[in-house]
């Protein structure tokens, strides 16, 4: 077993642990911190079903962003949607036998072209961050670096079209990790770069602003029902003040 395989295999386990345990812990934290007051913003739904619809629209269409910054919405939405398409395409490396819909031509092709869409979105966001004075002012180094990291992932992934690797061996490596029966990872530079950047992204996820993904679902302005007059909403720590 090559050193590269051992390093990447170990890193995959480590990064997966950080990603899932980290996000699970954040979700646990968010879920257990009380929201003592009703603070939904309009148009606030009256029912839980309405909240589900609202969150669906926010998550799928970025509705609030659409109303506030059209260019950011366009680039941001292109990037995220492309990310989803690319993810679907990549499932063929992690499912055995490959899930039937993953092998559909349309899913594979869309996943491929998504790389261009993703780059367009990301570069748009980066350009905006550099050239709009208000956005430049609020940007910390990490804000640029995360964009550059994801651009790196998209670009190195796309480059593999021209610097191909042994994808059967790659798949065996991935499946081997999943079933704890390791096999060799091809040591092509572009592949190692691509995977390395993905691992880095997984590791920083629970410690960075990427937490906006779970965060949105716990945002009280978006996930609360507008029912303050109908039923009494009170946190445990607030109830203690009453005795």
């Amino acid at each position: 077993m090559s050193l590269v395989t051992i390093i990447y295999g170990s890193l995959f386990y480590f990064a997966t642990l950080i990603l899932f345990a980290g996000i699970a812990y954040r979700i646990y934290e968010y879920a257990t911190i009380p929201a003592p007051l009703k603070i939904p913003t309009p148009p606030a739904p009256k029912t839980k079903r309405g909240v589900a619809v609202r969150l669906f629209r926010e998550v799928v269409f970025f509705e609030s962003l659409f109303h506030s910054a059209k260019w950011t919405w366009l680039f941001g939405w292109l990037f995220h949607f492309a990310l989803l398409l690319a993810f679907f395409r990549h499932l063929r490396y992690a499912t055995d036998p490959v899930w039937f819909w993953v092998s559909w031509e349309i899913v594979q092709a869309a996943g491929h072209y998504a790389a261009y869409m993703m780059l367009l979105g990301l570069i748009g966001l980066l350009v905006r961050r550099i050239f709009v004075d208000r956005v430049r002012h609020i940007s910390a180094p990490s804000d640029y670096l995360i964009l550059i990291l994801i651009i790196g992932i998209a670009l190195s992934g796309l480059m593999m079209k021209w610097y191909p690797t042994d994808i059967f061996a790659l798949k065996q490596f991935i499946i081997g990790l999943i079933y704890f029966s390791w096999s060799e990872l091809p040591s092509d530079f572009m592949l190692l770069l691509h995977l390395g950047l993905v691992l880095l992204l997984m590791i920083i996820f629970p410690y960075s602003k990427l937490l906006h993904a779970p965060g949105l679902f716990f945002s009280p302005t978006r996930n609360q029902t507008d029912t303050a007059r109908d039923s009494r909403h009170i946190a445990d720590w607030a109830r203690k003040l009453e005795s």
Partner: protein, 499 residues
């Protein structure tokens, strides 16, 4: 008394987003609260010795009590969508008045002490130490936020800067750095019952005077009762309604509505204030203590319903928080929501044909309507989605012949704050207030030019006082701001039935 000179913003035909000017309003900070006001609220009188540790402890405490604070400090992607949404940024050009700029003042300290990357790579993630300079910036800029939540509507994550600015003020209060305006006022309510410090005899005298005035005007005995036990309705209204113009015209209007509808009602000298500045300083304990006065008054006066007068943040606290803070209100009549807004009462009476209007009484006015931020973005009316927008407008349309809305991007959930909300309606922040009023004044100017609008109606005491100043500052007449129930009172057809 003269306010320090500052550059007057120009009213433009179409509002644009200014290029930023760093630290443009760093010099603006309200007077600090003295020891006597601090201690009556349970806070230290001056900056405590170990203030850094104490502030971080308090931040840690709030992070465990408020999901909003924790999620919002974590979830910002610094996308910049909010950067052109705050009226204070548009008016001052100071980037720390961009919602994300304001949030980052607290977020950078949160990252430094509460997150892994901030502890080890502070520069990388924009984390900073909590220094005296940072505390001073907090004091300046968290008192340049009117907690109007316009940014929260536009944020893709729903991040509400008001939640962060309230937490920051609570942290500062807890280490002995409080704001004079808010804390002096809260102390007065705890002691006397209202923001003004208006004692019961003065209130009684003022209301008696109002009865005389209305009698002179209409020849009808409209009563403005105080502490009348066993009334059906307890009216809780901002004390500015007793004291200031044009607020008092609204109060006269409520009385006429109750009279004409034959409803028995009373004011309370114990709960003679609808406002709840406890919210502005982010203090749940003070907010609750203020809200409890209303419960106590309702029980003491043995009323069946609670109705709130025209006051923006008071309606937020009433609609969204009162049941939480001072409930349950199971001793009141279950047929009515608790509490109700005076606009809901008037609207229902219009629907039931109990009130009739002679719209021509308001023909000297062409009216527009300013959605007060806390009503628009933090409450509802009538239990239909958007009722807080439609009900006041429907009342205006029922009482006037000439109504025009301002630009769609400046009303309803996108409304601009008047510039004086959130505990900033104080003379020591006059520069900020006038600059913050700019977006609303521009929108108003457009309907004045296009439709000949002469008056702007509002349902918030702060808005009314703030606009009385801002209108004059921007070349309008100060009496162009009116109470919504002034329109109602003017047009209401009264007859001489006695209760």
């Amino acid at each position: 008394m003269a306010v320090k000179e500052f550059e007057k913003p120009e009213l433009k035909e179409y509002s644009d987003v200014p290029l930023l000017e760093k630290k443009a309003t760093a010099h603006l900070a309200p007077f600090k609260s003295k020891e006597e006001f601090q201690s009556s609220l349970g806070y230290p009188g001056e900056l405590v010795d170990n203030w850094q540790d104490a502030a971080l402890d308090k931040m840690g405490d709030l992070l465990k009590k408020y999901r909003s604070l924790r999620v919002y400090l974590d979830s910002c992607i610094q996308c910049g969508a909010c950067t052109d949404k705050c009226h204070y940024y548009l008016g001052t050009k100071d980037p720390s008045n961009m919602p994300v700029g304001r949030q980052n003042l607290l977020r950078s300290v949160y990252r430094r002490y509460f997150t892994l990357p901030g502890k080890y790579f502070p520069k990388l993630v924009g984390a900073v130490d909590l220094t005296k300079e940072v505390l001073d910036d907090w004091y300046s800029y968290y008192h340049q936020c009117s907690q109007c939540r316009r940014c929260a509507v536009f944020c893709p994550m729903g991040i509400d800067t008001a939640e962060i600015s309230m937490a920051a003020r609570e942290i500062m209060d807890s280490v002995g750095v409080g704001q004079k305006y808010c804390n002096e006022i809260i102390g007065k309510v705890h002691k006397i019952g209202n923001n003004l410090g208006l004692p019961e005899p003065a209130l009684a005298d003022t209301l008696e005077g109002l009865e005389e005035d209305v009698k002179d005007e209409t020849d009808i005995d409209v009563k403005y009762p105080l502490d009348q036990k066993d009334s059906d309705i307890l009216l809780v209204t901002p004390s500015a309604d007793f004291f200031a113009e044009p607020h008092v015209d609204g109060l006269i209007g409520y009385g006429k509505v109750f009279h004409q509808a034959g409803l028995s009602w009373t004011l309370s000298s114990h709960a003679s204030e609808a406002a709840n500045f406890g919210m502005f300083i982010g203090s749940y304990a003070n907010m609750r203590k203020l809200a409890m006065r209303i419960r106590e008054a309702a029980l003491d006066l043995n009323v069946k319903r609670i109705v709130f007068g025209e006051c923006g943040h008071a309606w937020r606290v009433a609609y969204s928080f009162l049941n939480t803070l001072a409930g349950p209100f199971d001793f009141l009549d279950p047929k009515y929501p608790v509490p109700q807004h005076i606009c809901e009462v008037t609207y229902d009476l219009i629907q039931k044909n109990v009130l009739q209007f002679d719209k021509s009484a308001n023909d000297d006015m062409v009216v527009t309507y300013h959605d007060s931020c806390n009503v628009a973005r933090a409450s509802n009316m009538g239990d239909v989605i958007g009722g807080q927008f439609t009900i006041p407008r429907d009342i205006i349309k029922a009482t006037t012949n000439h109504f025009y809305d301002m630009d769609e991007s400046t009303i309803k959930e996108k409304t601009f704050c008047c510039g004086g909300g959130g505990g900033l309606l104080t003379d020591d922040l006059m520069e900020l207030r006038m600059k913050g009023a700019l977006p609303r004044m521009e929108a108003l100017k457009r309907v004045v030019d296009d439709y000949g609008v002469t008056h702007m109606a509002a349902i918030c005491a702060i808005c009314k006082s703030q606009f009385s100043k801002a209108l004059g500052y921007y070349g309008f007449e100060i009496d162009q701001i009116i109470s919504l129930h002034q329109l109602v009172g003017n047009a209401l057809i009264m007859n001489k039935k006695e209760l």
